[in-house]
């Protein structure tokens, strides 16, 4: 590519918004790339992307010029980004989930008070993973969103219902007792191995 086309590629790549043609013209003037005019360089860049087989293309929009990902790739990209998300929850996310499981419905402020740090991003992530959902709105100022766990949450931990979670004060024992890694044995209800169905 010509020097000007390369410069335009870099500039269009780095700009957060479409670059107005006047700005490009100023650049072209500064670059002073011999015979190559702005129009020639833009055409060169566009043809390069089109004919050489690229994942991006040069587009003229209302505000100017812009390099965009070709639309046929967007879904594959999005899927891959999602699929590649970490398969484990961070310690902070697990703690937040634990608080919600035991205190639901619970608002963000209360969660943050317990953990002592902000919970906004974690709540968003847990929500995206369908482990929690907004189950109600609280009383009081701004009617805060209240979170609760979802059926996916139960599924994830192989719980039939929330009551299968051990009591807080049984935890010390539940945690000490050896158990298989897979959550098949249910800690709280040992008497006959079955927990009561939910009341709802």
């Amino acid at each position: 590519m010509t020097a000007l086309a390369k410069l335009l590629e870099a500039a269009l790549f780095a700009s957060a918004v479409p670059v107005p043609v006047e700005a490009l013209r100023v650049m072209a003037k500064h670059a002073d790339d011999g015979e190559t005019t702005l129009d020639i360089a833009l055409a060169e860049l566009r043809d390069h992307y089109d004919s050489d087989g690229h994942g991006v293309e040069l587009i003229e929009v209302a505000g100017g010029w812009q390099i965009l990902t070709r639309p046929e790739y967007t879904e594959a990209i999005e899927r891959a980004q999602l699929a590649a998300r970490p398969q484990r929850l961070s310690m902070a996310a697990l703690e937040t989930l634990a608080i919600i499981a035991y205190r639901q419905p619970i608002g963000r402020a209360e969660i943050e008070e317990i953990r002592g740090v902000g919970a906004g991003a974690i709540l968003k992530s847990l929500h995206e993973r369908a482990l929690i959902d907004i189950v109600a709105r609280g009383e009081g100022l701004g009617r805060p969103l209240l979170y609760g766990t979802t059926p996916s949450f139960l599924e994830q931990f192989a719980l039939r219902h929330l009551e299968e979670l051990p009591r807080a004060d049984e935890l010390a024992i539940a945690l000490r007792a050896p158990r298989p890694a897979t959550p098949t044995s249910v800690p709280a209800v040992t008497d006959n191995g079955e927990a009561p169905p939910r009341a709802d």
Partner: protein, 253 residues
């Protein structure tokens, strides 16, 4: 302290005759930086610092600082003076091992010097990176509902609960034991019911729209009473409703 982005702002300007020192001080990122630079200027062996001399120079350099800016420097100055005094103590006769009062200072200086070496690396890297731009335009993401595979187990969740509980037990944070479990209350209800009926169903003792804590309270009450031998729990088939029966001594199981 200064903002991260402001590289070495000229913090202190005094009209005294010590402008040279003042300007230099603004360039130091802390007392260790100043100390290290003194040692370097004087070409002193870091393992054998002439404390008296260095302390004097250090005090001279910081004399022009305003007190609120100088707290960290003054702390170091006090430390140097203390070491100086310790150096003057006569060593005891026949003492083989001498605890060099400078040892801790030397360790800190070496550690700090390492930090500065890493800083050099970071500065180089950062300059390299600052010379390039990343993509700034972000396209509107389309929402593809793909629940990412998640590998977490119940024990992990329970450990998190445990951590939260320990966290919550600190006095200034309020208690996180599940919302006011009322096991005693539930025991009372079950006992009252079984006083008039010998058999009951799970749903008989539970309010219609029970909250999770009520369910949990009742469950724990039943388990407690079963343990005490006051009732029996049975389930005709998996997932079926519980049957609760009085287990008094006069009755068969």
């Amino acid at each position: 302290m200064d903002d991260v982005a402001l590289a070495d702002p000229p913090r202190m300007m005094t009209p005294s005759g010590s402008e040279v020192f003042v300007v230099e001080l603004a360039e130091f990122s802390g007392p260790l930086d100043l100390l290290l630079s003194l040692i370097r200027d004087e070409q002193i062996d870091i393992y054998d610092i002439p404390i008296a001399r260095i302390a004097e120079q250090f005090l001279g350099r910081i004399s022009s600082l305003k007190l609120d800016e100088a707290a960290d420097y003054l702390e170091m100055a006090a430390r140097l003076v203390r070491i100086k005094a310790q150096m003057l103590l006569p060593r005891r006769e026949g003492e083989d091992v001498w605890d060099d009062p400078r040892a801790e200072l030397v360790r800190r200086l070496l550690e700090y010097q390492q930090v500065r070496e890493v800083v050099d690396v970071l500065e180089r890297r950062s300059e390299e990176r600052r010379g390039r731009f990343a993509r700034a335009y972000t396209q509107q993401a389309i929402q593809v509902p793909v629940p990412g595979a998640l590998r977490i187990s119940l024990p992990e969740l329970l450990s998190a609960v445990d951590r939260v509980l320990r966290l919550a037990r600190k006095p200034h944070i309020h208690d996180v034991v599940p919302r006011a479990l009322d096991v005693d209350g539930a025991i009372g209800i079950v006992r009252a019911l079984l006083a008039i009926r010998s058999h009951a169903q799970w749903k008989d003792v539970l309010p219609r729209k029970a909250e999770p804590w009520e369910v949990l309270s009742l469950l724990l009450a039943l388990l407690e009473l079963a343990k005490l031998g006051e009732l029996r729990l049975a389930q005709p088939r998996p997932f079926a409703a519980f049957e609760i029966s009085r287990d008094s001594t006069g009755e068969a199981a």
